[in-house]
Symmetry: C2
């Protein structure tokens, strides 16, 4: 990842029409906002450990259960759960690294997960895609490839999120292979696995070895694959997720353990109670990961929001979500783990609600020092849709966040006493030497915002933000350049996919 | 102002259709985000003091100049400015209070300006008004009164901003009297003065005495009037603003001193240089206030954004704006003054840009511990328009901010270990005793956000945020209840206005 210094001095990459900040690591140099006292963090973690000791967690995957019992877990037949005493949990936790690298096909896009780093990931997993032209619909593989091209083109996105939406025109059992092929050929950024079950996870690891010209031995020390592991809250882990954990951990790759809890449905209605349960689920799952391979990288993931108690519907980007993002990162730091949150909204279109709920999610993540902001760009409609226009809206908001985190320079040149003295009272600074020497790169170059006055804006069609975003993603797509790949690598990827599709079709 | 405790326990005020948080003080209990080091703050303040010593500030109002010279200022004929040495400035600064109260007609709406308090003020000063029904237009007095009724009805707005827009159907020279009459009869919150020149300021002070059943003697110790004092950056103060200062300060009322600087035009293109100039202008003006009356309350105001260097247009809600809000509050704290910022956007409609630029402005203000957030609700189009729908959008965002600042409760009840143990793995918390006892008030009750699923949302007309906001302000207006006023007070206000209009018409 380019250094902060590199970023500031780099000439801004200007496409034909879309100004962008250059690709660079983003970190928050200011202290994290801490919404819990040290004593409150201890109480929550103690509560989680108590739950694991007395109630345990249910593991539907028999092999996972056996691994935990072999390591000291106790079967609880009444709960069909495995109880884990605190000494065991804390010992396993101590083996997990506080930060680690994550390789990309292009080494300039290698990531660091941990510390003050913020990694922004594009949306992954929605069922639908949408844009202003064709509306909300099941997406095709061709549309998915376009979405991935945009993720590659947008510099502020550090990581691809494991498939922006399902390619509904492809067979479900082999669809992930086409996704991986697109991820590794259309992007040279780090890409997430589609970590649902053993085979899909193994396929990602194998194709990563081909695409990065590496092997499983090297991958053990230099991870490149990250899978999102969702628990089935409350207090349960299903078979596909457990299989993914075993494949990821045994290969030394990253399990991003993320309970999906809506306070009042999958967890207690109280925020503190939700944090207890979330922490218990993360700790139990981290223990499983460390049973598979001590030292395997894990992330403390949080997706804690609340239900709308009038309708029972999920509510996203709420004040509760913001507080939970802040508190979760704080708990993760206490446990010595990197953290993950998301950029969420319930809105069904790219309007003001989509922006303010996303901002609330992002500020909670950024102020809390969340290390991985999943779904950071593109998520709409409570995560059911990946939107082409929301991708651009989020990219603008992420860039603004990154620019806000750049410290102010305070030196003789920037203090500008001489210039202030030069300009007469009531005059202007437009034409001073100081201004002329700096104005081109003095301020954040917006990708999306309109600064037209009302009359010009009306004359030019009174375009709102979503309409401008529509034009921008089309321009970016026009300008897209596929990263180079050795012909032999491309052939090996193609061969792997063909071979695996044959196997799947023969079943 | 109701206490934090009062707020949490207060039953939520539910109108027929618009849920709201109860009226309450908002404060930020977390440490401020500090973007400058202590050494950087000192350098900026030292730079400002150096400018005042060597270049000075131009005061177009002769009486103000005489006051400053009498207190030790030195006339600089070349610059037509008055130079102020640092000892003089710092001595005058030391007389200004770090925090103070501000009375409202209803004592429950009294304000505290300073410390960790955040006061949210409605938009003041635009030339136009707008709503979705009639578009952007010059506003009438009837429309202004409707806007003021909404400001009274929206609990999260603590202070009215001195007239949301100009009532263009009224004569310019007496228009302020009709505004004051509306402010004091339609609201019982604190209202800002229309502090342009001597007469308008005096009229506000006199009508405040009538409306609050107080007199100028009591007002000296218990201020109730706040006027926004904009310098003419760079380094100049005009006659109407100086006249307002003299009337406000001599009556012991509040001057909110706010340079309006767009880096690259009215101030240096560098952020540090803009902070130097802004601080110099504030310090010179604060010195004038303290010359008029030692101890008169003042606020360090900042309105520092940047121009769009491609077009020269003002750019609002930018990362630069956010950083300047954070840095300005930090400098104000160093100087021992309360601070002021704004909620800004360049957007011409109530869309995603309006939301994300406002969020960037608000987060900078809230994280920086700004004490007075001016234009916190309703501002659109770079401040040229007061929008009825933006007022609702901002109210929602402000409420979310206030709720985010409410600390998490962590106690046995909230930790909910018993409930977590009760619910079987993979079950749900909807029907637990813990949930049922708490769900009604567990989460932030949104005023504006939609949580409908896509299909229901489409069936009900696919309303975006602005469309829903349009319905909400109409409901609030239907539900508006005018605060009671003694008939004699009303008569005295009417008499004052008639008498003054006569005087103005006889000129």
């Amino acid at each position: 990842m380019a250094s902060r210094r590199g970023r500031i001095s780099a000439k801004r990459k200007q496409g034909r029409g879309v100004p962008q900040l250059p690709y660079a690591a983003v970190n928050n140099p200011y202290p994290p906002m801490e919404v819990l006292t040290a004593g409150q963090v201890e109480k929550i973690v103690d509560g989680a450990l108590t739950i694991l000791e007395t109630k345990g967690m249910r593991f539907l995957h028999a092999e996972s259960g056996r691994l935990l019992v072999a390591a000291g877990g106790k079967e609880d037949p009444a709960q069909q759960s495995i109880r884990l005493d605190r000494a065991m949990v804390l010992e396993h936790l101590s083996w997990a690294p506080a930060s680690f690298g994550l390789r990309a096909r292009n080494p300039l896009h290698d990531l660091t997960i941990g510390g003050n780093n913020l990694v922004f990931t594009s949306v992954g997993g929605p069922a639908f895609c949408s844009d202003l032209d064709k509306g909300r619909r099941p997406g095709s593989y061709a549309e998915l490839c376009d979405y991935l091209r945009l993720v590659q083109s947008i510099n502020i996105i550090h990581q691809e999120g494991g498939g922006a939406f399902e390619a509904m025109d492809l067979p479900p059992l082999s669809r992930h292979l086409d996704l991986y092929l697109a991820q590794f050929t259309l992007l040279d950024k780090n890409v997430q696995a589609y970590a649902l079950g053993r085979d899909r996870t193994v396929d990602c690891i194998e194709m990563t070895c081909i695409a990065l010209a590496t092997d499983r031995r090297e991958l053990l020390d230099k991870p490149a694959v990250l899978g999102i592991i969702n628990t089935n809250s409350p207090m349960q882990l299903d078979v596909p997720m457990s299989e993914a954990i075993i494949e990821l951990a045994s290969a030394g790759q990253v399990s991003c353990v993320t309970p999906f809890t809506l306070a009042g449905s999958m967890s207690p209605v109280s925020l503190a109670g939700t944090l207890v349960q979330q922490t218990a689920e993360v700790l139990a799952t981290v223990t499983l990961v460390q049973c598979v391979r001590p030292g395997a990288p894990v992330i403390y993931g949080s997706f804690a929001s609340n239900v709308d108690m009038k309708s029972g519907a999920p509510a996203m980007g709420t004040p509760e979500y913001t507080k939970m993002a802040l508190a979760s990162s704080q708990i993760a730091r206490y446990l010595g783990l990197p953290s993950r949150s998301s950029n969420t909204t319930s809105s069904n279109c790219v309007d003001a609600q989509a922006a303010y709920e996303s901002e609330m999610s992002l500020w909670g993540s950024v102020m809390g020092h969340t290390n991985l902001v999943n779904h950071a760009a593109g998520w709409l409609e409570g995560g059911l849709t990946a939107s082409f226009e929301k991708l651009i809206l989020d990219a603008e908001m992420l860039q603004m966040m990154a620019q806000t985190l750049e410290p102010l320079a305070v030196n003789e040149d920037e203090l500008a006493l001489q210039t202030i003295a030069e300009v007469p009272p009531g005059g202007h600074h437009f034409a001073t030497e100081h201004t002329l020497a700096r104005y081109e790169n003095a301020f954040y170059p917006s990708m999306l915002s309109s600064r037209q006055n009302f009359e010009s804006w009306q004359e030019l069609g009174a375009q709102d933000t979503a309409t401008r975003a529509n034009r921008i993603w089309k321009t970016l797509l026009d300008e897209y350049q596929q990263p180079e790949m050795e012909a032999s690598t491309q052939a090996a990827l193609n061969d792997y996919v063909s071979q695996r599709k044959k196997e799947i079709n023969q079943r």
